[in-house]
């Protein structure tokens, strides 16, 4: 009997660590910490078939929304580190910890960044009938009479973008939180607030219709769809390089070989022309790259946003 138990334990012990060679050994679940139809969800659902083809296994997109993406993230941090459960989340992963207290996981250690798949750019917008033609005019006007900046919610990337803009430009602006990007754009349309760092996809049609006016791209390069709008670098704000990125993570303790394989296969999918043609109309810029680069980026951003939260006096 004793022998049998030893043998069983030994067999289990050998069976447990998933081998990179035969990864994935079963269906892979990509957890999205947002509701269906959000841009993260849409991206994942477009990517899944490419990985499915590559791996010969079902790739299931599973939405676990809530808590400003923290519920789904916490779920994956507790998942088995066998590469069968992955997380695809946005830059809320690095901004939210600077605001939210008592997260049930440690964002620096409990999840391993694998690959940065892409990003959406932000653009500062004002009402189309407002007198400000340039950002300079807006900053100057704010010093005459204080202005309000909208955000898509406390701790979101847009919130940090606006705080960083206020710190760097010295504008006299106070942030007001809305529930999501939609209501924030409306507050610009209705003149309730004065400036907002919107994603291109939320503002696009309104820019075309002249209802809102883009003043500056939050990044150091101009964007193809709005080529006339100056970049932050050109206007002298080189640090306003703020993008909402999207990345793949695994629970800590996942075999490095598996991580390397996922990184390579996702990079391959990102280079597929057919895939590029599907997602670029959705305003995504694809990134890819090594996992080391992404680990460094996540680490740096965690530090950067925490420092900004402290400096701007955003209380935990």
């Amino acid at each position: 009997m004793k022998k049998f138990i030893t043998a069983a334990v030994a067999a289990l012990g050998f069976a447990l660590p998933a081998m990179a060679a035969d990864y994935p050994s079963g269906p892979v679940t990509i957890v999205i910490p947002y509701s269906p139809s959000g841009n993260t969800d849409v991206f994942a659902r477009h990517l899944a078939p490419y990985l499915e083809e590559k791996w010969g296994q079902a790739v299931v997109v599973d939405n676990k929304p809530g808590g400003g993406s923290m519920i789904g993230t916490a779920y994956v941090s507790q998942a088995k580190p066998d590469g069968q459960t992955l997380l695809m989340t946005s830059s809320a992963f690095v901004t939210a910890p600077a605001i939210q207290k008592e997260l049930p996981f440690d964002s620096r250690t409990d999840l391993v960044p694998i690959v940065n798949v892409g990003h959406v750019s932000f653009v500062l917008i004002v009402n189309g009938e407002s007198p400000y033609q340039t950002l300079e005019e807006f900053v100057a006007a704010s010093k005459e009479s204080p202005k309000f900046a909208a955000t898509a919610g406390l701790g979101t990337t847009t919130h940090f973008a606006m705080e960083k803009f206020i710190v760097d430009s010295g504008a006299d602006v106070e942030v007001v939180h809305f529930k999501g990007g939609g209501p924030a754009v409306v507050s610009i349309l209705s003149n309730e607030t004065d400036i907002y760092g919107s994603s291109i996809s939320s503002a696009g049609k309104n820019i075309e219709a002249g209802k809102v006016r883009p003043l500056m791209v939050l990044g150091n390069e101009r964007i193809d769809v709005i080529p006339d709008v100056p970049s932050a670098g050109e206007l002298g704000y080189p640090d306003l390089e703020i993008k909402q990125w999207l990345g793949v993570f695994a629970p800590k303790g996942t075999d490095p070989e598996i991580l390397a394989k996922i990184n390579a296969d996702v990079n391959e999918a990102l280079a597929n022309q057919e895939f590029i043609d599907t997602v670029t109309p959705l305003d995504w810029t694809l990134n890819g790259g090594t996992s080391e680069a992404f680990v460094t980026q996540v680490d740096e951003e965690l530090t950067k946003w925490q420092a900004l939260a402290d400096a701007a006096g955003i209380k935990k």
């Binding site: 929304p65 923290m70 406390l154 939180h177 809305f178 696009g204 075309e208 209380k315």
Partner: protein, 515 residues
């Protein structure tokens, strides 16, 4: 001429075979989801969402929209027959629908709510067709101060929504607002009353609250009391759906007022059909010469809310499509269906994608006619539910409630909430606390807090912001008038009521409780 051309274009899209098929599918599914208590439209739409990848964007939207407004049609069924709301927007229909069913007028109630739903929806579609761009512009005039004023007016207007003591009604409204505070505070990210639970950060589930306080509590009260043999067999025949001339006469104005209010609330992002239904009920009760009939099977009490929630369903598309602003999570899903196909909703949608816009709107006519045809013959089937022995019916209903609550987020937490609110609901029955104000407080409370705090921030801490802005000032003045009116009117009414109540108490039927 261009207008007729648009309508023709819309019908040519909506009447294609594929689109009629998916419209039918959506409407049918919506009715089913609506009839089953606990299963929400959001869950149903999220589940079908992946299907939209493979459909044309217009077809996908037509189907999702069919589920959306079909649910509200079906939702009144369980409210009327079982006293538990099919969807939260139908909760107020219980107040008079269930007494009607108990009086053997369940068939009439189902028929008339179908008519009211169709009327309300048609009203909404006409507005949608004629005025979308205009309405979208005017909705932009509503900032946080206006929203707060509106919510305040809603609470004041609805404070007499239920029978009995005003103090109890107010207390339940306040308790509802407090329950609504549970979760992460949107302005400071502070977790309030979550007791460390990550799942509660999202707040209390509206479905769990409505199902617990109304559904589970109702079942506890009815076990061993309701017998199927109490139902008059004649009342479940199909011919028993014919309304009396008096019913028809009393229904016109409530339907019209309900549709107007519903259309208004539908256009404001973040409000929606539940609020519209509650408030139109409150308005009918206030305007009625015989408010004491309400809660005892008054037909006005089902016509107004059902017209309101259906018209709100239709006009909710105005901000979604023309501003690109979803008014609710469900609408956000529909926007998502468009975004997947690379179509960004916004002010230029109507001119950029006329086929999609007009096709969708004209499909609403198709869908509503389908629902009308689908629902009237089904009434005979539903009413027969009343003849199922209660000892078989209630475990089944309880099971549907639990599955519905579970599927809302695939977490047992929602089922635990049903448990907790079932216990609360039963305690409320013992203490004779009404449930409707609790639900209304829960729906309005968080919006009120959010908008009040934002308005104070934007107004730099000055209360006058609510009176300086013209629209807000008008709403505040109306609120004051309603308040005066109720104080002035209450003396006489109270006298009349106590006379009636003391004579009625003697022969009170123990199975009939207002919720």
């Amino acid at each position: 001429m261009e207008f007729l051309g648009n309508i023709g274009l819309g019908f040519s899209v909506a009447l294609s075979f594929t689109n009629i098929f998916y419209c039918f599918l959506g409407a049918l599914l919506g009715t089913l989801v609506g009839v089953i208590p606990g299963l929400g439209v959001l869950a149903a739409i999220s589940m079908l969402f992946p299907l939209t990848f493979h459909l044309e964007p217009t077809t996908a939207l037509i189907m999702l929209a069919g589920i959306w407004y079909g649910t509200t049609y079906g939702g009144s069924t369980a409210s009327i027959l079982l006293n538990l709301p099919g969807t939260p927007a139908n909760a107020v229909t219980c107040l008079d629908g269930f007494p009607m069913a108990r009086q053997g007028r369940g068939g009439v109630a189902l028929f008339m709510t179908t008519v009211a739903s169709f009327f309300g929806a048609s009203f909404g579609i006409i507005l949608l067709t004629l005025f979308t761009p205009v309405i979208a512009e005017y909705a932009l005039r509503f900032g946080s101060a206006e929203y707060f004023a509106l919510m305040l007016m809603g609470l004041v207007a609805a404070s007499t929504i239920s029978e009995g003591s005003a103090i109890k009604g107010l207390a339940m409204m306040v308790l509802g607002i407090i329950i609504g505070l549970v979760g992460m505070d949107s302005q400071t990210a502070t977790a309030r009353f979550t007791f460390g639970s990550l799942g509660l950060l999202e707040g209390v589930s509206l479905i769990a609250l409505a199902m617990g306080v109304f559904g589970v509590a109702e079942i506890i009260m009815s076990v061993r009391r309701v017998k199927a043999t109490d139902i008059d067999p004649d009342s479940v025949r199909l011919k028993a759906i014919k309304p009396t001339r008096d019913d028809v006469r009393r229904s016109w104005m409530p339907m019209l007022r309900g549709s107007t209010m519903g259309s208004f609330f539908g256009t404001l992002p973040g409000t929606g059909p539940s609020i519209a239904a509650f408030l139109s009920y409150a308005v009918e009760k206030r305007l009625s010469k015989t408010p004491e009939r309400f809660g005892k099977g008054a037909i006005e009490g089902i016509m107004a809310p059902e017209a309101a929630n259906n018209s709100a369903d239709q006009t909710a598309f105005i901000p979604t499509l023309s501003l690109g602003v979803p008014g609710s999570a469900t609408m956000a899903l529909m926007l998502g269906a468009l975004m997947i196909h690379g179509i960004a909703p916004g002010p230029t949608l109507i001119s950029d994608e006329p086929e999609l816009f007009w096709g969708l709107i004209m499909s609403f006519w198709v869908g509503n006619v389908i629902l009308l045809i689908l629902n009237i013959p089904l009434i005979g089937v539903w009413v027969r539910m009343l003849t199922i022995p209660y000892n078989l019916l209630y475990p089944s209903v309880l099971m549907f409630i639990c599955i519905g609550a579970y599927t809302a987020s695939f977490s047992p937490l929602n089922v635990w909430m049903v448990f907790a609110f079932g216990a609360l609901g039963y305690a409320m029955r013992i203490f004779r606390f009404p449930g409707a104000p609790l639900l209304l407080g829960f729906v309005l409370g968080p919006l009120m807090e959010e908008h009040f705090r934002r308005a104070m921030l934007l107004g730099r801490g000055d209360f006058m912001t609510f009176f300086d802005r013209p629209i807000s000032a008008v709403i505040m003045a109306l609120t004051g008038l309603i308040l005066l009116w109720s104080v002035w009117g209450s003396e006489g009414v109270r006298q009349r009521r106590t006379d009636r109540a003391s004579s009625a108490r003697a022969d009170q039927d123990p199975t009939k409780k207002s919720i």
